[in-house]
């Protein structure tokens, strides 16, 4: 579980999808898709943020929700696609 301020992915999710809410329960394995915290529209925003933040071309980013189910999934994808960034 990672809750420090040095976790930009988590910070982004909290700021963008859980603004003003208690995010203490947001663990690395919390299912963002199943819980609808990230819905289909949110997924589009998330992908574009990843693309911009980590310099990964949008075309290289898979669109299926399963790739972003949890914080751990997103982190794993980013570290594989842009190893220098994380």
């Amino acid at each position: 579980m990672s809750t420090t301020a040095t976790d930009p992915i988590r910070d982004y999710i909290v700021q963008e999808f859980l603004a003003g809410e208690d995010a203490a329960d947001l663990t690395d394995d919390f299912d963002l898709i199943e819980s609808t915290v990230v819905n289909s529209l949110g997924l589009v925003r998330l992908i574009s943020w990843i693309s911009e933040t980590y310099g990964i071309p949008v075309d290289d980013i898979p669109l299926e929700p399963a790739a972003y189910r949890t914080l751990a999934d997103i982190r794993r994808f980013v570290s594989e696609a842009a190893p220098a960034a994380v």
């Binding site: 203490a24 199943e34 609808t36």
Partner: protein, 494 residues
């Protein structure tokens, strides 16, 4: 009931059994003789003012024996009383009083008596409003304006007597009845739990208006006074049933106002082992119109609103190929009812053409358009689907915010939930939930989202959840004030 018959029955109880307890309030017992004395003191104050131009007496519904005595005294003098929420602001009160052709306001004082004041207001405010006719009605109630000033609904005396007859028989009310009066005096629920019980010679236990969310207080009040009749919204039943409390004295439980969760039902069954359970459906304009007698051993959930009360006629209106038509057989449509208990119409004449219409099947009876979306199954049971105006579209999918509330409210750690539709730049409309969690639970907004996602289609899962420890803002009739919640959210969002 606010009718000559109630007044006669009350006087009879005073004569025949003066020492019997009429009211319990603030820990003190008020006997029928005490209440009579309070009413006489108040009558003296009413007689001390010139009442020649008085068409309606505004009595803010402060919940006290003195206010009840004030109403009895006014009715004895043939005065129609307008009974609004005491929480209304001065400007709204003045407008309502003017609309009802006032111009007197009376506030009961401790120990009996009333302070009367005369409102000078613009007579034009009463344009288009009928004056209440005391021959026809002694009581004018208000319905929640979720928008703007409440609507004025005169309650007919004969309609009240018919309601009293029905309720007395249906719930077996007599001098041994002891009701818990939880809702404010200006609610139509008081017609049963205050006025019909007094007419029967029973005892009314007045729950303090300020303590309505205090479970420990309500539990003690109910236990200590051997209450037999509990009527109220699911929140009341939930508070009473908390922590495994038991009420062997309760004989009748009436659910009303909103849909109750399955767990809430089971908890109440356990809390009141000797009771009969009813789901009652109605509104201020028609009073009760549907009832479902609930069998704890064989009930369905969500609870049906049941079948029309004896004497009530109900039709469902649907949009057919040639316009509006009456639904035959099973299906879903807007509920229209005609009850033996209904009002003769709003004082504001212009409202009536939209709210009331002649029997759509032909015939002269006036039907009230409830605005409620109701499903009728093949067995003739009716189920409330929500308000016709609570339908919103979320990402193109028709969604009923009340259904979402019901699902959130069914979470064991949720005390109350309110869901509003907010504008969303991406989706057009998104759902936002305000939720009050039970004290001491660790329910988080993420936990609740996960729960909602399990029980709702994706489009219906609120996209934001705010958890609070304090009760939600309420309308004058005790329902969550969705407009206020929405406004706060919108202003906070921008």
């Amino acid at each position: 009931m606010p009718s000559p018959r109630l007044l006669q029955a009350f006087s009879r109880h005073v004569q025949e059994d003066p020492g019997r307890t009429a009211l319990v309030a603030g820990g003190a017992r008020v006997s029928y003789a005490d209440l009579e004395q309070l009413a006489r003191r108040t009558a003296a104050d009413l007689d001390a003012v010139d009442r020649t131009d008085v068409r309606a007496l505004c009595v803010p519904a402060h919940k006290s024996p003195e206010t009840i005595a004030l109403l009895l005294a006014a009715w004895r003098r043939g005065i129609n009383t307008l009974v609004p929420s005491p929480g209304l602001g001065a400007a709204a009160l003045a407008t309502l009083t003017a609309q009802a052709h006032g111009p007197l306001t009376a506030v009961a004082v401790p120990g009996g008596g009333a302070i009367l004041s005369r409102e000078e207001s613009d007579p034009a405010l009463a344009d288009g409003f009928s004056a209440p006719d005391p021959e026809e009605s002694l009581l004018t109630l208000t319905t929640s304006g979720s928008t703007g000033v409440p609507k004025l609904v005169p309650i007919r005396t004969d309609a009240f007597d018919r309601f009293g007859d029905w309720a007395t028989e249906k719930f077996g009310l007599d001098a041994d009845a002891r009701s818990l009066s939880f809702s404010p005096l200006n609610f139509d629920l008081a017609l049963l739990d205050v006025w019909t019980v007094l007419e029967a010679g029973g005892t009314v236990v007045l729950a303090d208006a300020g303590a309505s969310g205090d479970a420990a207080y309500l539990r003690a009040l109910t236990s200590d006074n051997d209450v037999t009749l509990v009527q109220g919204v699911p929140l009341l039943h939930r508070l009473l049933a908390a922590d495994g409390a038991r009420y062997p004295s309760v004989r009748t439980v009436v659910f009303t106002g909103e849909s109750v969760s399955e767990q809430g039902l089971r908890d109440t069954f356990a809390a009141c082992p000797a009771a009969r359970f009813h789901n009652v459906f109605g509104c201020t304009e028609t009073n009760d119109s549907f009832i479902e007698d609930i069998d704890p051993d064989a009930f369905v959930h969500p609870l049906p609103i049941g079948a029309p009360i004896e004497g009530t006629e109900a039709v469902l209106l649907i949009e057919g190929p040639d316009g509006t038509e009456v639904l035959q057989g099973p299906g879903t449509g807007e509920l229209l009812v005609h009850t033996p208990f209904q009002t003769c119409g709003y004082l504001e004449q212009a409202r009536n053409a939209h709210a009331f219409m002649p029997d759509p099947r032909g015939g002269g009876a006036m039907f009230y358009r409830t605005g409620d979306l109701v499903h009728r199954d093949a067995d003739g049971r009716h189920f409330l689907q929500g308000r016709t105006d609570f339908q919103v579209k979320v990402r193109g999918v028709r969604t009923n915010t009340l259904e979402v509330e019901t699902v959130l409210g069914a979470h064991p750690d949720v005390v109350e939930a309110c869901v509003v539709a907010l504008p969303c730049p991406e989706a057009g409309t998104r759902l936002h939930a305000e939720v009050v969690r039970r004290d001491g639970t660790s329910l988080s907004s993420l936990g609740l989202r996960a729960y909602a996602a399990k029980h709702l289609p994706r489009h219906a899962v609120p996209s934001s959840v705010a958890l609070a420890g304090t009760p939600l803002p309420k309308t004058p009739t005790g329902k969550p004030d969705r407009n206020s919640i929405k406004k706060t959210r919108l202003n906070g969002d921008t």
